[in-house]
């Protein structure tokens, strides 16, 4: 019951909440990012990171470094922290933590299927998969010819199985079908995660509802913008939007018929939380939209830590770390390409 969590939460979740709050304290501050932005080479970045919690993961990497190496090693740190929390968690926290990784699982499935369609080696594809989204039979995905086989041979024994009910057809896997499969799976996953959090109730339900609704709305906007000028029909586009969120259902009706970024702006500015996001952009521009959404997301994720005795802090921490890794990736790319003047285009400060 909401309000009495303080009495019982710490019995099973107290240790892990303390752990995750400790991890949160290790996130980079604006001063750390400013130091990183001053680096001239990737080796300088490695030197700066060696003094942080990422140090042990990068210390054995030989020069010259590559940006993908930095991202991979930093991701390994996140994976280690996640696995430590997962093995210590009891129900329902363990299920909650597993839900956080299903998005990566979907990305990995689509990566394997797409790469196989383009005749790439399965081993190379597996190396590029996100470690948080791995499962035992993932390599078998390469033999499936259509979605029915994909489900029957591999995914029926994975946590993604329930999300496939809307995708199962005998159509061959081509680029459009794969894209629709990706977004349909993610839609089903978000809705399922949302319902799970609602069932948990209390502060977890309140905080996670807000965070997942924002995620659903952002996905709706991205799907709309990315599908402008493509073969995706309005009906197909509408079917990819989640059935919850601030934009559901009237915002979705407007987004489904948008043909350019200004129409998207017109639809979104009717909602006060998104009016502030689009006010940062000039008309006709969409380049800075990602950064604006990330900044809003970071703000909401940081607010999750202002309350205790809920599972939202775990979700928020994972997302904040992923944002930090995205920042490191962008800074590394700007340094490697000698484009340091553009480094602040996409870095989102957390603190």
């Amino acid at each position: 019951m909401y309000g009495f969590e303080a009495m019982t939460f710490n019995i099973h979740g107290g240790y892990l909440e303390a752990i995750v709050r400790g991890h949160r304290a290790g996130l980079f501050t604006a001063a750390d990012y400013n130091n990183l932005c001053q680096c001239e080479t990737l080796d300088d970045i490695k030197m700066h990171l060696s003094a942080t919690e990422y140090g042990p993961y990068l210390q054995n990497e030989p020069s010259p470094l590559h940006t993908t190496t930095i991202v991979e090693k930093c991701t390994l740190k996140l994976v280690d922290e996640y696995k430590h929390m997962l093995c210590q968690a009891t129900e329902p926290l363990s299920t909650f933590l597993e839900y956080i990784t299903y998005g990566h699982m979907i990305d990995n499935v689509v990566l394997i299927v797409t790469g196989t369609l383009h005749e790439r080696d399965v081993q190379e594809l597996l190396e590029k998969c996100h470690p948080l989204g791995m499962f035992d039979s993932i390599a078998t995905l390469a033999v499936a010819q259509n979605m029915r086989e994909l489900y029957r041979l591999v995914l029926v024994d994975t946590p993604l199985a329930p999300y496939f009910s809307e995708c199962i057809t005998s159509e061959d896997l081509d680029d459009m079908n794969i894209e629709i499969m990706r977004n349909t799976l993610y839609k089903a996953y978000l809705e399922d995660f949302y319902k799970f959090c609602q069932k948990l109730g209390g502060a977890t339900a309140e905080i996670m509802s807000d965070l997942l609704a924002f995620e659903a709305d952002r996905r709706a906007v991205n799907i709309t913008i990315n599908s402008i000028g493509t073969e995706l029909t309005r009906d197909d586009r509408r079917k990819l939007y989640s059935n919850f969120g601030l934009l559901y259902p009237y915002g979705h009706e407007e987004l489904a018929v948008c043909e350019d970024i200004d129409q998207v702006r017109g639809a979104m500015e009717k909602y006060p939380p998104y009016q502030s996001i689009f006010s940062k952009l000039s008309y006709g521009e969409s380049q800075m939209l990602d950064k604006a959404f990330y900044e809003e997301e970071v703000k909401r994720l940081c607010l999750a830590f202002e309350q205790q005795f809920h599972y939202g802090v775990f979700f928020a921490y994972m997302r904040l770390r992923e944002q930090e890794i995205r920042n490191l990736m962008w800074i590394s790319e700007c340094v490697a390409q000698n484009q340091k003047s553009r480094v602040h285009d996409s870095v989102v400060f957390i603190f």
């Binding site: 993908t68 991202v71 990566h104 990305d107 990995n108 689509v110 990566l111 797409t114 790469g115 383009h118 005749e119 790439r120 190379e124 594809l125 190396e127 590029k128 998969c129 996100h130 680029d175 459009m176 794969i178 894209e179 990706r182 977004n183 991205n222 799907i223 913008i225 990315n226 599908s227 000028g229 493509t230 073969e231 995706l232 969409s286 380049q287 990602d290 995205r326 990736m329 962008w330 790319e333 700007c334 390409q337 484009q339 553009r342 285009d345 996409s346």
Partner: protein, 181 residues
């Protein structure tokens, strides 16, 4: 002293040969200047393209934009070069170069090349820098051609991006346009 304005080369003590050499040197310097300008423009466009690609990877995620997804199946080149000899011209020894590619609609020269490649190859167009004949030949048929090539051009672009998915970020499309230019 009689000043002969019709033979300025003699007035400065230069022979015709020297005047011709000076003209050649000036032409060489002009060409070098044009070459350096193009190199600089190419370098800056490539830098922009690489940064836009990194931005697309930042936006879409490393699992959607990575080297592993590059298509290893065979496909035609986005740009081809047509080299012809124009027999109708006096200086028919000079080769004529025509770029044919599926470029952006803002690049009128490339569209003209696209239009040319789809038409009669016995009438090549001179595409040397500074030539005015090319622009005099532009007629309203170019507008029709631009609309006709837009759809196949967009289809080719979408097809080449399909390895990264069908719903890709506008940043990835911008990177593609930069590399096309």
């Amino acid at each position: 002293m009689v000043v002969d304005h019709e033979t300025p080369s003699l007035e400065n003590g230069q022979t015709d040969k020297e005047v011709e050499e000076n003209a050649n040197v000036l032409q060489f310097m002009d060409s070098m200047d044009a070459y350096l300008t193009l190199i600089h423009s190419l370098s800056s466009t490539l830098r922009r393209g690489w940064l836009e690609l990194a931005s697309a990877r930042h936006s879409m995620g490393a699992s959607r934009v990575n080297t592993v997804l590059l298509d290893h199946t065979s496909h035609p080149a986005a740009t081809s070069l047509l080299v012809t000899q124009d027999e109708g011209k006096v200086d028919s020894g000079k080769p004529h170069f025509t770029l044919c590619k599926w470029a952006s609609s803002s690049n009128e020269n490339s569209l003209l090349g696209e239009k040319h490649s789809s038409q009669d190859k016995l009438h090549p167009q001179l595409r040397h820098r500074g030539s005015t004949e090319l622009y005099e030949e532009k007629t309203s048929s170019e507008n029709k051609a631009s609309r006709e090539v837009d759809d196949p051009v967009q289809k080719e672009r979408s097809k080449s991006l399909s390895m990264f998915g069908t719903l890709v970020s506008p940043k990835l499309r911008a990177a593609q346009l930069s590399f096309e230019h």
